[in-house]
Amino acid sequence: MTDEIATDGGASTVNAGYDEWIDALAEGAGYALVCPDGHGSLPPRRVCPECGSSSLSEEALPDRGEIETFTVVHVPSPRFADDAPYVTAVARFGPVRLTGIVRGVDPESGGDEERAGSDADDEAVEVGTTVEVGVGERETDGGRIVAFRPVET
């Protein structure tokens, strides 16, 4: 088991619930689980982690979310060796926050507008940036990742 973690990060493991969720996200049909009190969570769940309700329904994620915080990772784990530097962000999508990698931005800018612009199409990410969510690939090994992309507002 430890060898597997070290080599492929458990990528060959089937994770029922999560795998279906990221499949749906890739098809543009991402969802959250929501309880009657409106608490959002991500699968697999049997009860709401906030209130314990077992009445969970799937609710479509909004088309757009907003970045609440981000970082530019320069020292990666092995699975992301060829991806660094890259931007990881936490973004609010309705009842849940998602953690993902921001594509279409310039990581070298470090979130600094003045340092952005090595690629004319790429802008600096900042708190409050509006993003859409889908599924991308790690450059290092092709593994699937939650990917955000800034959209015009």
């Binding site: 430890t2 973690i5 070290a6 990060g9 458990g10 994770n15 999560y18 969570s41 991500l42 982690p49 609440e68 915080t69 981000f70 970082t71 530019v72 990772v73 320069h74 020292v75 990666p76 784990s77 092995p78 699975r79 992301f80 060796a81 991806d83 890259y86 990881t88 962000a89 936490v90 849940v96 926050r97 998602l98 953690t99 993902g100 990698i101 470090g110 979130g111 708190v127 593994g143 699937r144 990742i145 939650v146």
Partner: protein, 388 residues
């Protein structure tokens, strides 16, 4: 309920010992603890041992029996794992066991071996303290997670890299005389600011190093200390633990640490004290921003004010409330599964007056240790007081 005393403390030098086995590191720390305590190994009734990533670093699970052998004790032995709070929870259970009257003598502590891995391997090992499906697969590293918290804090309260650099500089200064510290090297605010980025806004000197080391503590009941004429002037008077949602994204707030709020409230209540009674603290500064969040959770600064505490001198060695006089995880080092025990050892030495930085806190009676796991999904706080 009975009073719990720290009879003895033992540490290895924290640092890079890639050739040394975990069992040898823990053997050294426990030997020092027994010598310091004046307690015979045969008296130990339980071993509570903390370790986080031994399965990855040493291909070794089931470490507790191994460490009982290494320490030369024969008693029920259990490994505790709560990421970087592994030794904190091991200590907490030792304290509760003695307080409940279930044992008179418990050995607790922890060990981590990390530098035999390369930086990528250690980064991967540390990352497993986060949610694998929803965080690690999204590129979250351990520094990256704290960088997300730092940016959220700056957004909510202001402050920036310069204030964090003061935390780094302070803790490096404190480590200079500490014989157990990994880095006994001064780092100026300017040097910290100029260091390369790890996960922005955190740079090299915002991050603790990768460290090998072990800690061990001998806890005894007050009655045992008296009956055996032990010199054990420091008591553990409060213990508290808190748990939060595992993934940062699932927390109510990204710029505070509610699990540590809960742990602190419980520990203060247990000890019958409040933050104003505390004379010194060892807090879990795996990253500079973590010290800021810790002192806010411990009630030493209001939310939003913690960022300026080092810069303004509140938490420096000669400030009103010195924080991390050991050098902290930042400069003393962070062998993750040993850290929570090492903090108890440092607070004990500071209160007993035999720490190289004790002169800064000569009149101190009350110390606090704050140990956190992951991005503070786990937190443990202990209150120690001079009882004699």
């Amino acid at each position: 309920m009975t009073g719990v005393r720290v009879a003895g403390v033992g540490l290895t030098r924290f640092g890079s010992h890639p050739e040394r086995t975990g069992r040898d590191l823990f053997a050294e720390a426990s030997e020092r603890a027994f010598t310091d305590a004046g307690v015979d190994r045969d008296a130990v009734e339980e071993l509570n041992y903390g370790n986080f990533m031994g399965a990855l670093a040493e291909h070794q699970g089931h470490q507790a029996p191994l460490m009982a052998e290494a320490a030369g004790v024969r008693c029920p032995a259990t490994r505790y794992e709560s990421a970087c709070a592994s030794a904190g929870v091991a200590v907490r259970e030792a304290v509760r066991t003695v307080a409940a009257g279930d044992a008179d003598v418990v050995l607790a502590g922890g060990m981590e071996r990390m530098t035999n891995l390369d930086t990528e391997g250690a980064t991967e090992g540390l990352a497993i303290a986060a949610d694998d499906l929803f965080e690690v697969r999204a590129g979250v590293t351990f520094p990256g997670a704290y960088a997300l918290m730092a940016n959220a804090y700056f957004e909510a309260h202001g402050g920036g890299r310069e204030e964090l650099a003061h935390v780094a500089s302070k803790n490096h200064e404190n480590a200079l005389p500490n014989e157990y510290a990994q880095f006994r090297k001064a780092v100026s605010v300017e040097e910290a600011l100029a260091a390369p980025p790890v996960a922005e806004p955190l740079h090299l000197y915002d991050a603790c190093p990768i460290t090998d080391g072990a800690s061990a503590l001998v806890f005894v009941s007050e009655e045992y200390a008296a009956d055996n004429d032990l010199d054990a002037p420091v008591a553990v008077t409060g213990t508290g633990q808190g748990t939060d949602r595992m993934a940062l994204a699932d927390r109510a707030d990204l710029a505070s640490t509610p699990a540590a709020d809960d742990a602190a409230a419980a520990a203060y209540d247990d000890a019958g004290i409040g933050p104003a009674d505390v004379d010194l603290a060892e807090v879990h500064d795996c990253f500079t921003i973590a010290e800021v969040l810790a002192i806010e959770s411990l009630g030493f600064a209001e939310p939003g004010d913690g960022i300026a505490a080092a810069r303004d001198g509140l938490t420096t060695a000669d400030g009103d409330l010195p924080v991390n006089l050991s050098g902290g995880l930042k400069a003393k080092g962070h062998p993750v599964g040993a850290t929570g025990g090492s903090q108890i050892a440092e607070v004990t030495r500071l209160l007993r007056g035999d720490h190289p930085n004790s002169d800064h806190v000569a009149d101190a009676d009350v110390g606090v240790a704050h140990n956190a796991g992951g991005t503070v999904a786990s937190a443990v706080v202990h209150v120690l007081e001079v009882a004699e």
